[in-house]
């Protein structure tokens, strides 16, 4: 079972790893984007951590909806509404249970990822965060470690892709050969699940 504390840890671990990797994310966003993905997410997850401290939400669902709302209010760009929607919808799908089991979480996260696909219109293979999130959700039944590997492989697999969504799509063929920054940050988010579990 995953309790409220686990979901808090998920967010704070994500915040720490986004902070650590911000420069790399921004660097990935330079050749095929506008060089802000790392600073965008750092700003967002710093705000999430602060909000969790301040508001002390008491259920897993409340933790994630609060986190999602904060991302929407502070990140901007494409990733703000997308990650915000991911967490908000996942949180909503969790309802107001005090603890949730792994299966319910996997379903909820799938609902979140579906919402992201609907909002942004991206499908797997478009070279976006979806390419890390979908494989991760697909493997979630096998545990957080499996999901993490799937997300990381999904992120790496974006390198040879031709971008069809987001800024990178403007580059056409020239987007090929660069790993997608959003897929990379999604892999961090999923990796944080395993780390939060271990703690």
């Amino acid at each position: 079972m995953l309790d409220t504390d686990f979901f808090r840890r998920w967010m704070t671990v994500t915040a720490a790893s986004v902070d650590r990797e911000a420069d790399r994310l921004t660097a990935l966003d330079s050749p095929i984007g506008d060089a802000d993905h790392g600073s965008n997410l750092r700003r967002g997850f710093t705000a999430v951590t602060a909000a969790l401290e301040e508001e002390s939400p008491e259920t897993p669902g409340a933790v994630l909806t609060l986190a999602g709302r904060r991302l929407i209010s502070t990140v901007g760009g494409a990733s703000g509404p997308l990650y915000g929607t991911l967490l908000r919808r996942t949180g909503k799908a969790l309802g107001d249970a005090a603890e949730v089991d792994e299966r319910l979480f996997a379903e909820a996260l799938r609902a979140g990822v579906d919402a992201v696909m609907q909002l942004g219109g991206a499908a797997p293979g478009d070279k976006t965060m979806i390419d890390a999130l979908v494989p991760a959700v697909d493997r979630l039944a096998d545990g957080f470690g499996a999901a993490r590997s799937a997300a990381e492989q999904g992120a790496e697999a974006t390198t040879p892709m031709l971008a069809r969504k987001g800024r990178a799509s403007y580059l056409g063929e020239r987007s090929i050969g660069h790993q997608d920054p959003g897929a990379t940050s999604s892999a961090l988010l999923i990796a944080a699940l395993a780390e939060a579990e271990g703690k």
Binding site: T26, V75, L171
Partner: protein
């Protein structure tokens, strides 16, 4: 890259403080990042709200004022603003006649303005949206995020702003904005990449002796790189790219826009070449604007925008405007 800043984190807030000091005719909410014309809401008048990432100044904050925008929401550098800003702006300027959101076509801007529109409508504000997507360098297809919004934004904001100032209703202002966008096309080139404060170094490498054709305004590289061309060759290429996509039956207003670091001396010289090509192609020019209006931080380069205008649009274009960045007739 050295920058005239304190720390990257406060660049936008610092600029807003400086804007507030220089423009007492604007209400600048530094904390919430909203720039509003001081007399808003204007009774009975449709309000125009735009916004986008910072780094394109004077767009959009410099276009707030009588005859143009009611409010602008600056995001972080090259990052679309968040819905909270847009909702706050809409609430501050709505007189009950409704609000038009002017949105440049970038995924982030579209998503955030969409969310804001829903939230504003929940608050009882009538919202219409117009998407600006004039950049012919991007193929508008299922396989891209669609054409980017660049120089045409100025035309949409100016012409729709004039219509709103005259008291035209929301549906009409929205239709005019759409018409302006549909009749506008842009093409940009970069001679150097720009550096964002948070990255601190050029966003892409552009070797000496090469230029990027078809760049956007966010430090994105273009679609094609070529050996350096003369100003005349660049004008030929840019105007050709536009006229491949737009066959103006009416006169056009021309914007020869600097990306930030190109001297006005060069922009005027480039304009001479743009006018030459337009004359050769039989395009009638109603008015020309040369300067730094839709910039990309310290990028060197320029863009050309043509905006086809019928008599009504030209009249609205020429109508008085009083903003920090564009000002005439008042």
């Amino acid at each position: 890259m050295k920058m005239l800043i304190n720390v990257p984190e406060t660049v936008v807030a610092d600029a807003l403080r400086g804007m507030a000091a220089a423009h007492p005719e604007l209400t600048v909410d530094v904390e919430n990042r909203v720039i509003v014309r001081q007399d808003a809401p204007v009774a009975g008048k449709v309000a125009l709200v735009s916004g986008g990432g910072s780094g394109h100044e004077p767009l959009h904050g410099g276009f707030v004022g009588p005859g143009m925008l009611s409010a602008a929401c600056p995001g972080e550098v090259f990052t679309s603003p968040v819905p909270d800003q847009m909702v706050r702006a809409a609430a501050a300027v709505d007189s009950g006649a409704g609000v038009l959101f002017i949105v440049k076509n970038y995924t982030g801007d579209v998503l955030n303005f969409d969310m804001a529109a829903e939230l504003a409508e929940d608050e009882g504000i009538q919202v219409a949206k117009v998407l600006v997507n004039d950049d012919v360098a991007v193929t508008d297809s299922l396989y891209t995020a669609g054409r980017r919004g660049t120089g045409a934004t100025l035309f949409v904001e100016k012409i729709a702003g004039a219509a709103a100032e005259e008291g035209q209703p929301l549906a009409r202002v929205e239709a005019l904005a759409r018409q302006v966008n549909e009749g506008s096309r842009s093409f940009g080139v970069a001679l150097s990449a720009c550096s964002t404060p948070s990255k601190g170094s050029p966003t892409f490498d552009l070797p000496a002796g090469e230029l990027e054709l078809g760049v956007g305004i966010h430090g994105e590289p273009g679609r094609e790189r070529r050996p350096m061309m003369t100003s005349g060759e660049i004008a030929d290429f840019a105007v050709q790219a536009i006229l491949d996509d737009l066959t103006p039956r009416n006169p056009v207003v021309v914007l020869v826009n600097g990306m930030g670091a190109t001297p006005l001396l060069e922009l005027y010289g480039f304009n001479a070449e743009v006018q030459r090509v337009l004359a050769q192609r039989g395009v009638v020019v109603a008015h020309t604007l040369v300067g730094n209006y839709v910039t990309s931080l310290d990028m060197a380069g320029a863009s050309v925008t043509l905006c086809e205008v019928d008599e009504e649009l030209l009249r609205l274009w020429n109508a008085p405007v009083r903003t920090a960045g564009l000002r005439w007739g008042v």
